[in-house]
Symmetry: C2
Subunit: 238 residues, 2 copies
């Protein structure tokens, strides 16, 4: 049997938590608090920095001399952040998923995007990701940013539309849970159809009367009214 | 065994298609093309008008003398549309779901909202809906409109955000299918959490730097840029 890899994971957030969970049985993991970097194993084959984007630079400055590959997990931070930090082999190890400590995940399904300072480094990170995921690929910093933007639209903004719906229904004495079958179906549709083929609703039908009547009803919800208008126009022009 | 109900279903769209599918084994269904209303069974216990909202009035004008309850399936059309049309018993039979012919549905889960011109009529429609769904309730025309608006936000607009993501990723040489695990997880979260508690992303973290950097990258996608801006502001102000 192959010797298990030794890996430092720096961070205490949701991503670090899940990386620790995912790897605890397949590698020797050293969990490192960002405030106690002296706990790092300097001989680890990989050191993963999994902290908020704005804290990465500061961790790099405080990083003690270390062997092996150093990688961050951020979608929006370019690989260039490692340059001039005296690290020979560095890269990015980006899992495209939304992580909460309270929610278990199937790690096999999570797409990991890898970038390396050279081919060998990329390969090390690629193989490390492949220990837990069936869905590993290479992406450069520009592609990773695009993925992150698409994730903001497809996850963060989607969740916000549900939040607005929940608040609105509550004020009207109705319950958000009645929308769950509809929301499930909306998602299930795009498992087999392209979302552009799955579009339904007044805007794609060009039903201007209904759009006007909805906008009128949203008179007391100016924020929702603006969003309704902009997204309906976007659907109509699409 | 109780005699099966005889029901006309007028319409050829997605909702009419699925009502025919759902009821074909539990009632005698007469499928009626909106252009050949002479095919209606004048003795049917229920006649369902399942056409686009703007076509309902015109169907009512051409409707031959008919017994039984007449109901439409529209979320946004008030029950008043039936008034002065010489129909004695009328109502609304609104399934809160998104329907595509290509996609099978679990009818038992679909919430149906019922309104009737009187209690007896509401009961007839309520019982008819209960033949296929475990989730039937009463709602007046104003509540139904609110539900429909929330459905536009939670389904139509959500699907459009996925459509925009798909187009954007394609132009960047990436594939939308990589977002599916993230989209699934986003939905699974709100099965146990309120969407307002499940919100993640740069806007809810107040990460203005990242928002600015994303807006800059969307310079060539002005429509997405406007949507990004408006929805981020809405999250920040929420």
């Amino acid at each position: 049997m192959k010797k298990r890899m030794t890996v430092n994971i720096i961070g205490r957030g949701n991503v670090a938590y899940h990386l620790n969970m995912a790897y605890k049985n397949v590698a020797e993991i050293i969990e490192v608090n960002p405030h106690t970097l002296e706990e790092l194993n300097p001989e680890a084959e990989i050191t993963i920095i999994s902290v908020t984007d704005s804290a990465i630079a500061e961790i790099l400055e405080r990083l003690p001399p270390i062997q092996g590959v150093v990688a961050h997990t951020s979608g929006s931070t370019p690989i260039d952040i490692f340059k001039g930090q005296g690290i020979n082999n560095f890269g990015v190890f980006y899992p495209l998923q939304t992580f909460s400590k309270a929610k278990a995940l199937n790690y096999k399904e999570i797409p990991f995007y890898i970038e390396g300072s050279d081919e060998k480094t990329a390969e090390i990170l690629f193989n490390f990701a492949s220990l837990i995921s069936n869905n590993v690929r290479l992406a450069d910093s520009s592609q990773r940013k695009s993925l992150h933007i698409a994730a903001v639209f497809s996850c963060n903004f989607v969740n916000h539309l549900w939040t607005l719906s929940e608040k609105y229904l509550k004020e009207e004495g109705l319950q958000f849970s009645d929308l769950i079958p509809l929301i499930k179906e909306t998602m299930e549709k795009i498992m087999t159809l392209s979302p552009s083929d799955a579009q339904t609703g007044p805007a794609v039908r060009g039903d201007i009367n209904m759009i006007q009547s909805h906008l009128q009803l949203l008179e007391e919800f100016p924020n929702m009214k603006n969003i309704y208008k902009l997204l309906s126009e976007s659907i109509i022009n699409n």
